[in-house]
Every structure is written in structure tokens, then in C-alpha cells.
Symmetry: C2
């Protein structure tokens, strides 16, 4: 506090009012030209800062975690972009604001954000809150270090290896390598880069320019996003991703994989990488890993399994059969921030390799970062494994959650999600108007809602066109009323349908019933 | 709590003891086969979870923020890896643990982690804590959403654009584009990929294979890490990064840039990308941007400025001249998680482009993710700009801090760091044994400490060899005593020297004096 309030004699409540409206830190009042004395003073008032943080924590607890998980409260408080921008007063200005005003901002950000922890948020491949993971995330943020050396991240360097080793053991590997990446697409990019490096070690120095045309294979179900982004970014080219046909359930057809490999060869391209998927984004389909492994082994191709979404079935004795054969892969992507509830970001690339391929492929020999004459075992430093320099700590949240609930607790969550899906599917079959698109293999439930006016009209020429408008309309209504959130999309020639995702351990049958009732309510006049 | 304690009749304190040692959530006791009734129950006890989180918050406040910023406490509590692993009991097991045990784990993680918020942590290009940024980070973690659509991140989609626009305005651009990336290396990779795409749009579809050999230019000061990692990862090849000579201060020599461009052409390579640096990692050198811009404009090359470290000088009227000419660049990397104290990760790639190059280069046309018939303006969705799918929210911490201290407050911090450096340099010149390697242009202070036994021995044949061992020994001692942390490295033919980084607004002259005294104390017998 730099000045006494002029109204100090107006009494205690006026003083408090002044205080709570005074700037939290007074640094913006400092002169930019520092004298000796100013530099001797402590610039930052830890007490004030910690008081602000404590109050902000209380707001977070109240708004995000209490209200934000209460079914009586909205999932989202929809505003048009221009209205929201005005409400938030986003502009960044010359001067700072009062403690009071800043807390109001914390509250506003919470109020107008989507409550992804809410039991009726079914919109993405993440949902729900785990309080131990969240405690781990707060601790990560407060400790603020980078994962690259044992020197600045001793706990996290050891912890990352322990967590990766546990994930690898669930894949079926007693040895191997791996690293946490900022998201599944980057993890997949690591796999593609490692595969290219194994096949053509000269690529690191000479570049793709010195290589023949390469060929990548992935099912047509997943040739929309991650694989294409990786192929473009890494200089392989999207047309060199060959789309393999799928069966009705969305699973890769191994015979067609063989045919596409022959096709690529006939065009002069060199196959090197097969991108299989365990848990596709829309259908939740699992590619047949054993058959794909047979092909990859026979032809010497790198087999990658993108299990960013589906990997969590490995936690369940009942459901891990969906990934039978995964131990034959060369690499696996697994995002605990999806079904395991660790929170974004938490994605691991797991490798069977024991030859230090990760380090050979990504090291830059930066002696100024990773000194060779350290007084501890420098093989602990992970910096040379990463394509990044600074790397966020992503292991603690997963580790602390695992310590809290154990492998059995995690297994219970996966099994519970499957059980909810079975219940939901049975209910849908009992109700008029819900048309499942396929029997779910995983926790993605894809369906059309056929509103009363469309029922029995399947053969009318504009049926598909009218049906395609149902999901967007219901979605708009649910968003504007804030009652729940679920996604929709057109896919594989089918017009817009809903994709309901069941992840969160905090949902109950009541939420499933609410979901169906609410779809009916929002669509009954369509 | 699933069972009454058998010792309930032993009194209240026994009960409390039992309670605090019982599992926080009892999910691991659930049967994996769910009956109807179990699925009707709420799985997660929010009250218990929030209680744990509150207690964890208190531990964080105490251990990380109070003790962790107290000069009377250690910066690090050094343990040998095997001892630390044993202390932490890292193994992940079948069953969960008690609330009491988990809080102990939070405490242990805090205790054995390096205190990067400590006023005597001078080891990296990040240090110190900003409580508003930290509140923003906690809020980000609690809200747990992905930055890809307005639908799930309405506040953050608008906020990211506002923050990027503010950063662009400091670069000198009224229009442009940009995105937050997981770290400076990824931001630099975006720049290289965009430059390649602008020069050869066919690369996205056909790959590098269809292109001529490309050539990248960067100063020899920075050809160790980020540029090389990008060139390797993106299929360009490390040998196609041409190393441009630098002057004594470590700044790129523009004449040599021209020569290296001619050299590349003479080898049949096609120049497309010049990677300039504002604030190199070791020396803190600023490349001459005006001269580099002249060359890039004349030859039609993409000019990128890696200002991950140095970008913050743009906040200061007194020091922004160091980046004179930056507005002529095509792209700029700026990491607010470094000098601006937002905490990891916070890195922006800023673009002058107004033709939607970012979207054209990275879009994957995934209609299932980014529906075309949304009820709001889908141009708000950022997913097609990113190489990622899910993307962590990195803008809130920076926004909230800026709201708290204002542009003037941020300017004051930068000016203060420079003022501390001037003081430190003057003190070093006054003391025997401190030998500055060059006059700092920025806040990197590079020096040798010449211990008493070496003084005056400069001409002895083993001087360099003996000098090279001084910094590692002093470093080991300071780590093991935990009094402070500062980095060292060999660089450009010079044997190991210290690199002191002054960032944190919470340091005072007392800390600077302590630093010098401590180096003397730790090295006096060498």
C-alpha cells in the first residue's frame, strides 16, 4: 500500500473498502529508473500474493468444483462471442487492477467457461474431475520446473520413468522407453519420426530430400486428423498416407492393408509405418492388432498403435482383449488425460525399443544445456529424448491419482464406464426415436434421434436432409439452455448424428436417464 | 467411508485417526462387476475430494510458496537418485492409499523438488513466481478444457486472440495471426513449416520428397538445439542448416549470412528460411534484425525471429531497441514463461501474415471435429491452425497477470532485471577473482570465477584445464548444500564458465551480494 487513504477517518469499513480496491502489488507505480534503494527493497509482496491466491482458490472451489459439478447448475452459460468479449473486458492496459477487480475476473472466467467436470458434459473425449490428479496439477504449477534434467527436476525425472514403466507393463513390455508429450498428435509424430529414422538413419542429417518417397498406412477412419497433420508437418506429405478400408464397425481391414502396401510399392513408394488405432474418435473402433502385427513383422514395418483414446482398456481385465496383440507393436500412444481423468495435458509415447533410438533420433548434442561433466549420472537427463527444450511436467498428476486409487480403482472406473454404456444402449432400444448407428464396442455411443415428425418417414426423399438438421438444432438448444453438452458430426456418408461419450466416474444412471429425457424434450417439436 | 470403525467406541481421537487414514475415495473397494444399484450411486465423493484438495493447497502454500521463497530455506534438498527413489516410494500398486499418506506424498514431492521460485535460483531462463499468473494456472487446471473450439473454450478462444494481439502490437504489427504452442521449439517449428509451405505449397500434400534440397540459416550461436531439432523433425535435415558466423558478442554477421546463402545456392540448395535470434541462450545476444531483414526482403526469404528468451525487452521503452527491426520479420517466437514469469508452458508464435496461412498450412478438414453447420461463427475455432488436436490453455495465466500489473508493471520488471545486472557487473569488477567473459547485453551474466590458487597463473600450461574444473566443483558444492543454483557450460572454445540469469522481480541487491559471496566461499580453497 503506497499511500494512506484520504478517507482513513471515515471508519473501518471505508478503510477495508479502500484496501480491497487497492492494487494487489504496487509495482506499476515504480519508476522505471531504479535507484540503489529501490533495488534493495523486495519487489514482490509474498504475503499479499499468497492472500490473493488463497482467495482465488476459494473462488475456484466454489465456482468450478462445487457449482461446476452440481447437476442443478448449468454446464455452460452460453453467450454470443461479441457479448462475451464485452462481459469479460479482455483488453490489456497500461495499469494494473485492484485485488477486488482481479478476483471478480477469476469469477467471470469460471462463470462463462464450460464446466467440463459437470456430470452432464458428454461432449469430448475428456470429462470429469479427479481431485488427486487436480492436486498434482496444482503442485506441478506451483513448483514450475522443466522436465529436462535431474538437476532441476529430480523428483519428476524419476517419477516420469516410473509412470512410463507402469504404462509399458500394461502394454506387455518389461523393458522399453518413452516420454510424455504435449498431446496425442505430438506423440503420434514421435512415432512416425522414430520409424523414419529407424528405416533411414540418414534422414536426420540429410533430410527427406535424400530419401525415396515414403508411404504410411492408416485406416480411412482416422485419415482425417492426427496422421495427416504428422505427415504434413514432418515432410512426408498427406498423399503418401494410404487410406486402408475398414469394416462396418470401423476397424481396419488387414487384407486391404496388404493391398494398399502393394499399391504404394507399385507407385515406387517405400512403406515404413503402419498407424493402427485403438479407439477411434467417432466410432470408438479398435483395429485388429494381431493381424496388423503379422503383416508388419513379415514386411519389417514399424507398427504404431494410437491408443490415445482406447488405451485405458488395458487397465481392465474384462476389456483389455480389445487391444489383443498390442505388445507386438513398436510404439503406443496413450493419453491418460482422456479416459483416466488426469486432466490436459497428459499423453505418453511408449516404445518397445531398448537401443536408445529416442535419444539417437532427437539428440542435438547441446553441451551448454546438458553438460557432460555433471556430478551425477547424466543418463538421467531426458532433454536429448525430446523434440522440445523446456518440457512441462505431466507425470505427477497421473502418479498421485494412481497412488490414491490404485490400479484396481482405475480398473473399476473403466469397467463402470462400460457398464453405463450397456445401460444406456438398453434404454435407447426401449425408447422410441433413438436409433443406434452401431453397437458400441467402447464408450462412444453413436445414434440418431428421430423426432416425432420424422418417424415412419424414412422413405421420403428429404428424410436425410431433414434428419441432418436435427442434431445441430438440439445441440444449439441444449447449449443455450446449458442443460448438458454432447457432440454430433456427419461421418462416413451418414448425416449428422450424436456421439455420446461416457467417461466420468461421477455420472450415475440418473444422468443417463436425464440425457435421454433431455434429448427427447429438446427434439420433440422437430 | 464404507465401514464403521471397529474401534469407534475408543473415542473421538481414535475415530479421527481412523478417518484420516482411511482411503479418500473408496472406489478401489468396488466390485468390477456393477449391479444396477451401484451404478445409481454417486461414485465420487466431491466433499472428500475437495477436502483433500484444500489440504493439498495448504501444503503447497506452506512448502512451495512460503518455505520455497524464503532465503533462510534451501533452494534444493539434493539426494542421489537411488536415495531419492527410495524416499519417494514411487511404485504404483494395486490398492490406493489413505488421505494422510497422500498428503505426505504431496509434501515429499514439494520437499525434494528444486525451488525455482526461490530468490536464489539463477539456473534457468525461468525463475520466480507471479501469484496472479499462478492463480490463472490453478483456474486453467480446474476448468480443464481444450483450446480448440469456441464451443468448449469460449472464454479462452477470445482471450487467446486478445493476448496474441497485444503481443503482436508490441512487435509492431496492427494485424496478423498466431497461436500458443507447447514451448519455444514447437513455436520455432511452426515458423519453419509455414515458411516451407509459403515457398512450396505442394509440400503439404506431396512431402519434402517432391521438393528440391532446402536451406535454412541460423547463427552458429544457436545451431545446437531448437533449429537443429526442427530441421531433423520436419524432414529438412540438419546438414541443411547453414551456420552463420557471429561477432564477439555472439550476434549474427550479416555479411556472412549473404555468403552462406551463396554457398547454399552453389550446392544446389534453395534458401527459404532465416532463423534470427533475440536473446541467445548462453550469451543473451541479439542478432542485428534490420540488416537481416534487408537481406531477407531482397531475396524473398522468410525471416523468423526466435525471441523466446529476449522478447520481453519489447515491454521496455528503454531496452526495446535491442530488437529494432523486428516488425520486418515474418514470424516471432516469444515465451512469456521465461522472463515474464507466467510459468511453464507459455510460448507464442506470432505471425505478420493476414492470409490465413496458419490455417491453410495446418488444417486437416476434420468435419467430425469442426462441424461446418455450427450455430456460431466457426471461424472462431482454432483447431485448424494447430498441429495438435487437444491443446492446453496457455493464455489465461498471462492475461490475468497482465490485468494485475499492467503493461507498466511488466515494463518495470524488465527494467529492474537490467538494473540488477548493471549492479552485479559493477560488483564483479570490484571483486578479485570474477572475470566477466563479455559485457552483458541482456540479463545473462557470463563469468569465470578464478579461485585464489589460479590467480596470476594464466600462462601456465594447465591453466585452462584447471579452470574448467572450477565451475563443476562449485556447482556440486552449492547443490549439495542447497544454498543457490546457477548454471555453467563450456561454449565456443571457452572452458566451463558460469551463466548467471537475473529475471525474478523478487530478488534484491542482497541476493546479488549473497551470490558473489557464496561463489567466493564455495571456491576459496580451489
Amino acid at each position: 500500500m503506497s499511500q494512506l487513504p484520504r478517507f482513513w477517518n471515515l471508519g473501518w469499513s471505508s478503510f477495508l473498502d479502500w484496501w480491497s480496491n487497492s492494487p494487489v502489488v504496487s509495482e506499476q507505480e515504480s519508476s522505471p529508473l531504479y535507484g540503489q534503494q529501490q533495488l534493495n527493497e523486495t519487489f514482490l509482496d509474498h504475503g499479499e500474493g499468497q492472500q490473493f491466491l488463497t482467495k482465488a482458490f476459494q473462488v475456484i472451489l466454489e465456482e468450478v468444483l462445487c457449482k461446476g459439478t452440481d447437476v442443478k447448475e448449468k454446464v455452460c452459460d452460453w453467450r454470443e462471442p461479441e457479448d462475451l468479449a464485452a462481459l469479460l473486458d479482455l483488453e490489456l492496459r497500461e495499469n494494473g487492477e485492484s485485488q477486488h477487480q482481479l478476483l471478480k475476473r477469476v469469477q467471470d472466467v469460471a462463470k462463462y467457461s464450460v464446466k467440463t467436470n459437470h456430470p452432464r458434459f458428454f461432449n469430448q473425449l475428456f470429462a470429469g474431475v479427479d481431485y488427486h490428479a487436480l492436486a498434482g496439477r496444482f503442485l506441478t504449477e506451483a513448483l514450475n520446473t522443466s522436465q529436462y534434467t535431474y538437476e532441476v527436476a529430480p523428483v519428476f525425472v524419476l517419477m516420469e520413468e516410473e509412470v512410463l514403466s507402469k504404462l509399458r507393463s500394461l502394454v506387455g513390455w518389461t523393458h522399453g522407453d518413452g516420454i510424455f508429450c504435449p498431446g496425442g498428435t505430438v506423440s503420434n509424430m514421435y512415432a512416425m519420426n522414430l520409424a523414419r529414422f529407424r528405416a533411414f538413419p540418414e534422414v536426420k542429417v540429410k533430410g527427406q530430400w535424400a530419401l525415396p518417397r515414403l508411404a504410411v498406412f492408416a485406416s480411412q477412419e482416422v485419415c482425417h486428423y492426427s496422421v495427416m497433420k504428422a505427415a504434413a508437418f514432418q515432410g512426408i506429405g498427406t498423399e503418401n498416407v494410404f487410406k486402408v478400408n475398414v469394416d462396418d464397425r470401423g476397424c481396419m481391414n488387414p487384407e486391404d492393408l496388404c493391398e494398399k502396401i502393394e499399391l504404394a510399392k507399385s507407385q515406387g513408394a517405400v512403406p515404413f509405418f503402419v498407424h493402427a488405432t485403438s479407439g477411434t474418435t467417432v466410432k470408438g473402433a479398435f483395429d485388429p492388432l494381431e493381424s496388423i502385427a503379422d503383416i508388419c513383422e513379415r514386411l519389417g514395418l514399424w507398427m504404431h498403435v494410437d491408443a490415445a483414446w482406447g488405451g485405458s482398456v488395458l487397465l481392465s481385465n474384462e476389456h483389455r482383449h480389445l487391444m489383443k496383440g498390442v505388445e507386438r507393436a513398436d510404439s503406443v500412444t496413450w493419453n491418460p488425460h482422456k479416459m483416466m481423468l488426469t486432466g490436459l495435458q497428459c499423453s505418453a509415447i511408449l516404445l518397445k525399443d531398448t537401443t536408445d533410438l529416442l535419444k539417437h533420433c532427437h539428440c542435438a548434442d547441446a553441451t551448454y544445456l546438458f553438460q557432460q561433466d555433471k556430478f551425477y549420472d547424466k543418463s538421467l537427463d531426458t532433454g536429448d529424448k525430446s523434440i522440445q527444450c523446456g518440457r512441462k511436467v505431466d507425470c505427477l498428476k497421473l502418479w498421485l491419482m494412481w497412488k490414491a486409487v490404485g490400479s484396481k480403482g482405475l480398473e473399476g472406473r473403466v469397467d463402470r464406464a462400460f457398464a453405463h454404456v450397456r445401460y444406456l444402449v438398453e434404454e435407447m432400444k426401449r425408447r422410441e426415436g433413438f436409433q443406434l448407428i452401431w453397437e458400441p464396442e467402447f464408450v462412444n455411443v453413436c445414434f440418431w434421434f428421430i423426432p416425432p415428425s420424422l418417424r415412419g418417414d424414412e422413405n421420403s426423399p428429404d428424410y436425410q436432409d431433414r434428419l441432418s438438421k436435427v442434431a445441430p438444432t438440439i445441440k444449439e438448444r441444449m447449449m443455450k439452455q446449458g442443460t448438458m453438452m454432447v457432440g454430433y458430426q456427419p461421418h462416413g456418408g451418414r448425416v449428422n448424428f450424436f456421439r455420446m461419450i461416457v467417461i466420468s466416474p461421477q455420472v450415475s444412471h440418473e444422468d443417463m436417464t436425464f440425457f435421454l429425457d433431455e434429448i427427447e424434450r429438446l427434439g420433440k417439436d422437430l
